[in-house]
Amino acid sequence: MHTDAAPHRPSPSLATWLIACLSLLGAFALSGCDKPTRDVYQPVADSAEISAWFYHLVLAVDAVILAIVVTILVVAIVRFRKKPGDEELPPQSFGNMKMEVAWTVIPTLIVIGITVPTLGGIFELARKPDLNQKIIEVEVTGKQWWWEFDYAKEKLNTANELHVEVGTQVILNMTSADVIHSWWVPRIGGKRDANPGRRYPFYFRPYQVGTFDGQCAELCGASHALMGTRVIVHPKTGADSYEAWVAREQQQAQKPATPQQEAGQKVFMTKGCVACHTIRGVSELAVGARSRTSGPNLTHVGGRTSIAARTLPMTAQNIAKWVKNPQAVKQGALMTNLGLSDEEAAAVGAYLASLK
């Protein structure tokens, strides 16, 4: 045994540890404190509510288990620390059958307690809606890196922003034109994969009017992070109602109102945009709506709140920036860079932004 040279000197490392611990605690206090806009546990639809209910159930169970484990651990560490000089061996216990049985049976009961309601939840989420009620049914196609929403019954086609009605059952039929994507708007409900070659339904019924953001949740290539989506839940009545939106979207595109918009329409018609984009009433040449190469339908693009799958806010300038060089906004974007001049880009921006 060597002796400690200065046993009474206040240890500088203690102060260091204290500061370290306090700053760590401070850091922890900060965590989870930003105001989230996509909180999974502030549901606005029945689907997210079911998820939240189960989360809170299991969270409570988990919290109790963790508290028990940590308490036993801390007490054991404090109580059974070896005292200096105490060289006697502790009792050599090899185990205890009763305790083994207890900590097998109790977790089993807990697991049953969680799993049985879970099975109910699985089937609840998969339950087909009542087809006699009003239903909004949308074909959702994920594409690198945007979302196509096709309302077959309403005969309208839009992109990235899904419009639905409060209180009305929604069926989204998910598929993909290329790789696997996953549609996730946390406050609406859990994510569902958009698989190429398959078509799976996702049911939900929103109960709160508002705008709710989400994005693709399955790695799908370079710009996976820029594949946003947005759900707009409309009220049942009024100027902002869902039906009013449908009626607006069903109209043909607006005519250009200024010379610049006129020029923009000409650029659209002559520079190659029409190969991939449709503007109803102007050009419907774009090949196969759900093919991998077709781009978003632009008939009412100015009525959306954002462009390029929620990458930029909807303004004429942003559209100009995008068409000038799509890959500069979104790495790998599948839209061709058509080599437009600044003037042409600005004109297209002005024209498209006017298509409310």
């Binding site: 370290a20 760590l24 900060l30 965590s31 989870g32 930003d34 989230p36 909180d39 999974v40 997210a48 989360y55 969270l59 169970v61 988990d62 288990i65 963790l66 484990v69 036993i72 651990l73 059974f80 620390r81 070896k82 502790p90 090899f94 205890n96 305790m99 083994e100 900590w103 097998t104 977790p107 697991v111 969680i114 799993t115 879970t118 099975l119 939840g121 699985i122 989420l125 998969a126 690198q144 998910m174 790789v179 696997i180 996953s182 996730w184 409900g189 859990g190 994510k191 569902r192 994969d193 698989n195 799976y200 790695l219 799908c220 290539g221 370079a222 996976h224 992070a225 820029l226 790998g332």
Partner: protein, 608 residues
């Protein structure tokens, strides 16, 4: 009273070898000694731990602040893919292989593994596979489809040549793991010292045995998956091509049928290490020794029936979801049994806290947190929200970093003195422990909130107004702490190896056979074959009259395997086949295939 000094009385054995031993670099390149191969695995694993950490550091810098442009999406995807692939296959698995290689023969009282040359073959195939995988950084970019490489993103129309390096590299690692699995199963079942019944085997040996079965049975599905992918990419087949009637979901099933057992491959050895260390530093036996073993075996078995819990969002239908939810929840039970037995071991002990014990004890709550969040996403209604979000990232880092890696760190402090003969610095060890613990919690705990607040994993950037800023910044700070702590460990290992305090044979007053021989052990491990009389042979030798390990008077004559370069020859040929596939140089493939045939012939006809 008997002590381990008694063993020095045994006369040194005489040994005969087929060829004279080699020295220096040639010895390392042709070694078949399980201890040297263990050291090679350990150094490679440590190196790749630093590489994987560096990759994480880079993408955490990108994520520190919103709308950052430090990395592009493509670079970011490459780094996350390589980070995970590296950490799983090139860091944690090799460190586990290092411990298995070095210590399994010692712990069961054997002279080597059953097939020493196969062991060398596993190592070189692993090393060449890992180099092939990482060479992608130099030739056309890293693989970037995520560590589970979902089809069809890995198809040639969506991803570049990085994926070719990925599948060929992983295929080599798979070969290495399957061969090692068979080798260790045979070793553990057949080469135990007299008297070491299965139930007297140390828990760590048991857990390694279980994972060798997992390796042997879970790597075949992914190998098949990788070969199908290789065919799609190289020869234009359409196994995963929807447009031609293929099915990308096939990949998901093959991958996770491997992937879930694989996560147990990563955790069970650390559970074994913790089960070895806790008794030593509480001075009492492992509580419920048999229950800990049985629950480990149960976890291994059940691990094959739960893979669908990674696919709840795919749309398998409610019946499949219900089945996988139930099996997954059941895995929680044996996991809980282990945790409570570890607590039972602590309770009533006389506990001391060297660094190895600190890591082993902190394993318990950290792993528990990860296990409990695992129970959450076993429930599909919850998992639909948590899947592919940062919540899952938090889950698997608590089990992998807080669990698997901390267990391995505990193992480093506990076992390295046997390898180097020198103790590590306890002071640096404690700095390592506390800084690492702080860093990992700072990084991964807030990620639970990020997931709950809607942040998907693998996004290279995020907007400032989503409410994810603070938690991401904390995560980046935490990674810097973890990186610092790991460097402290590396420094500690290097300096102690050179000039640490001598460890002696049995620095911890432990109870298993590896501590009865010298540190480092001689080539032949033990001067005589120990006879095992209880499940704590060395403890009882030291303390229980009537249980002394008998020391023979006469010298044993032993046959030691000789160095051989033939295993490496076959590994090189496999590498050349992969290079041929990558570059479409078919003659190279054919020549290399003939090389394998020749290598096998040379191998089987070589006098061992």
């Amino acid at each position: 009273m008997a002590s381990i000094a008694d063993f020095a009385r045994a006369p040194a054995p005489t040994y005969h070898m087929a060829r004279p031993p080699k020295t220096g670099l040639m010895d390392w390149l042709t070694t078949v000694d399980h201890k040297k191969i263990g050291i090679l695995y350990g150094l490679s694993g440590l190196f790749y731990l630093l590489v994987g950490g560096l990759e994480a550091l880079l993408f955490r810098i990108q994520l520190a602040v919103p709308d950052n442009d430090f990395l592009t999406g493509e670079q970011f995807n490459g780094l996350v893919t390589m980070h995970a692939t590296t950490m799983v296959f090139l860091a944690v698995m090799p460190i586990i292989a290092a411990i298995s290689n070095y210590f399994i023969p010692l712990m069961i009282g054997a002279r080597d593994v059953a097939f020493p040359r196969m062991n060398a073959f596993s190592f070189w195939t692993f090393l060449f596979g890992s180099l092939l995988l990482n060479s992608s950084f130099l030739f056309g970019g890293a693989p970037n489809a995520g560590w589970f490489g979902y089809a069809p993103l890995t198809g040639s129309q969506y991803s570049g040549s990085g994926i070719d390096f990925w599948w060929t590299g992983l295929a080599m690692l798979a070969i290495s793991s399957m061969v090692a699995g068979v080798n260790f199963i045979v070793t553990i079942l057949n080469m135990r010292a007299p008297g070491m019944t299965l139930m007297r085997m140390p828990v760590l040996v048991w857990m390694i045995l279980v994972i060798q079965f997992l390796l042997a049975f879970s790597f075949p599905p992914i190998t098949v998956g990788l070969i199908l992918l290789g065919f799609d990419r190289t020869f234009g087949t359409v196994f995963y091509q929807v447009s031609m009637g293929g099915d990308p979901q096939l990949w998901q099933h093959l991958f996770w049928l491997f992937g879930h057992p694989e996560v147990y491959v990563l955790i069970l050895p650390s559970m074994g290490i913790v089960s070895e260390i806790l008794p030593v530093f509480t001075r009492r036996p492992l509580f419920g020794h048999h229950a800990v073993i049985f629950s480990g075996v149960a976890i291994g078995f059940m691990g094959f029936g739960v893979w669908g819990h990674h696919m709840f969002t795919v749309g398998m239908g409610p019946i499949a979801d219900a089945a996988f939810a139930s099996t997954t929840a059941i895995v929680g039970i044996p996991t809980g049994v282990k945790i409570f037995n570890w607590l039972g071991t602590l309770w009533g002990g006389k506990i001391t806290f060297p660094t190895a014990m600190l890591f082993a004890v902190s394993f318990i709550p950290m792993f528990t947190i990860g296990g409990l969040s695992g129970v959450m996403h076993s429930s599909p209604p919850i998992d639909l929200q948590q899947h592919n979000s940062y919540f899952v990232v938090a889950h698997f880092h608590y089990v992998l970093v807080g669990g698997a890696l901390q267990g391995l760190f505990a193992g480093v402090y506990f076992y390295l003195p046997k390898i180097t003969g020198k103790l590590l610095s306890e002071k640096l060890g404690k700095v390592h422990f506390w800084v690492f613990l702080a860093g990992m919690n700072l990084t991964f705990f807030p990620q639970h909130f990020l997931g709950n607040h809607g942040m998907p994993r693998r996004i290279y950037t995020y907007p400032a107004d989503a409410g994810w800023n603070t938690d991401n910044m904390l995560g980046t700070i935490g990674v810097i702490l973890m990186a610092t702590a790991t460097l402290v460990m590396v420094y500690n290992i290097l300096t102690s190896w050179k000039k640490g305090k001598p460890a002696g044979n049995d620095p911890w007053d432990a109870s298993t056979l590896e501590w009865m021989t010298t540190s480092p052990p001689p080539v032949h491990n033990f001067d005589f074959t120990p006879v095992v009389l209880s499940e704590r042979p060395l403890w009882d030798h030291k303390r229980t009259p009537g249980f002394e390990i008998p020391v023979p008077e006469t010298s044993e004559s032993i046959h030691m395997p000789s160095n051989s370069w033939r295993p490496m020859l076959i590994s090189v040929c496999i590498l050349l086949i992969m290079v041929g596939l990558l570059t479409h140089l078919w003659p190279l493939c054919i020549v290399a295939a003939l090389g394998i045939v020749a290598g096998v012939y040379l191998w089987v006809t070589e006098p061992a």
